[in-house]
């Protein structure tokens, strides 16, 4: 049994198409000139510094609690909010585990190796597939 399946077991009640929201700091927003769009850097989808798994917020719980997605950015007004699906996370051998916190009842973690494999690293796949939920459009850099 792996560390993730033991400590942060996958919750299959979270359906594959369910959205996992991740705050993206301004320093992690890059312009991909090949795709002609702003997107999160792969660096935005790494585990925490102490090895704790990557935090996300479950959109379904926000909806249940009648909260707007932008409420996740309270106190971080210059941040953006990106979404990946639970199915995508699982496709790259991650578990999706609800972990409600007092300050964020919709909190969950995505556990699994994210950086190995270089070009096929999960963090890269997440960054490429992520869609914006809250993002202030900006001009393309010249």
């Amino acid at each position: 049994m792996s560390y993730c399946t033991e400590k942060f077991p996958d919750d299959l009640s979270i359906e594959a198409e369910e959205s996992l929201l991740r705050r993206i700091p301004p320093d992690h927003i890059i312009f991909d000139d090949n795709e002609k769009r702003w997107r999160p850097s792969s660096a935005a989808f790494e585990d925490d510094r102490d090895g704790d798994p990557m935090s996300v917020v479950l959109l379904k719980i926000l909806n249940r609690d009648k909260r707007e997605p932008s409420s996740v950015l309270k106190g971080h007004e210059d941040y953006a909010l990106a979404s990946i699906t639970a199915g995508l996370a699982r496709q790259y051998v991650q578990t999706v585990h609800p972990q409600p916190l007092d300050e964020e009842p919709a909190h969950a973690v995505v556990c699994g190796e994210k950086t190995k494999g270089k070009k096929n690293a999960p963090k890269k796949k997440f960054a490429q597939a992520a869609t914006w939920v809250v993002f202030e459009e900006r001009p393309h850099p010249t």
């Binding site: 320093d27 890059i30 312009f31 090949n34 850097s41 792969s42 925490d48 510094r49 102490d50 270089k118």
Partner: protein
Amino acid sequence: MAETLLKANAWLDIGHKPKHKAATRWAEDYRPSRKLAEVFPIKSEKHSVCRVYTGSSLFNLESARSVAVTNAFSIVSPQYIQTINRLINLLELPNGWNSYNARAISKENVTFAVSLLSRIMTVGTPAPQVVPKVRGGVQLEWHTKGINIEVDIDTPEKFSFCAEDVRTAQEAEGNEDVNLLRQWIGRLL
């Protein structure tokens, strides 16, 4: 005030190559009393251009001039300047800068990134996008001209990269392989 004090991170054009040694010595002398003072030479046709920075402290330009600094803030590659400035700005990020408990960016990693860039960038190389990492490292990214390159620096003296040409599906990856990385960077010109 007779002395000219400049904020840290100034660019110094130290003139022709023979003066480079003197400037390096000056930076070495400065190191004990400052958090960081290093000279990064880059090649140009006429000048050896150096970056001198001292963390968040101030340094004395007159002292630098005494080792034959000829002109402050002169440089040949604006993309290189832009990148180095961005890297140095990352040093200002506090612990927790990403709202998820990220570590402050390490000076050693920034210094290594500066050094690596001086080896792989040429005058026409586009500036990479510079991204801080949660454990104090830095990531350099190019996504242009059909080429994707990501360079990860997680500890000083070590880097890994992956690259792909989206038009041909050609891919490469490596650890500490400057020559291979330089070849891929060359495709951006």
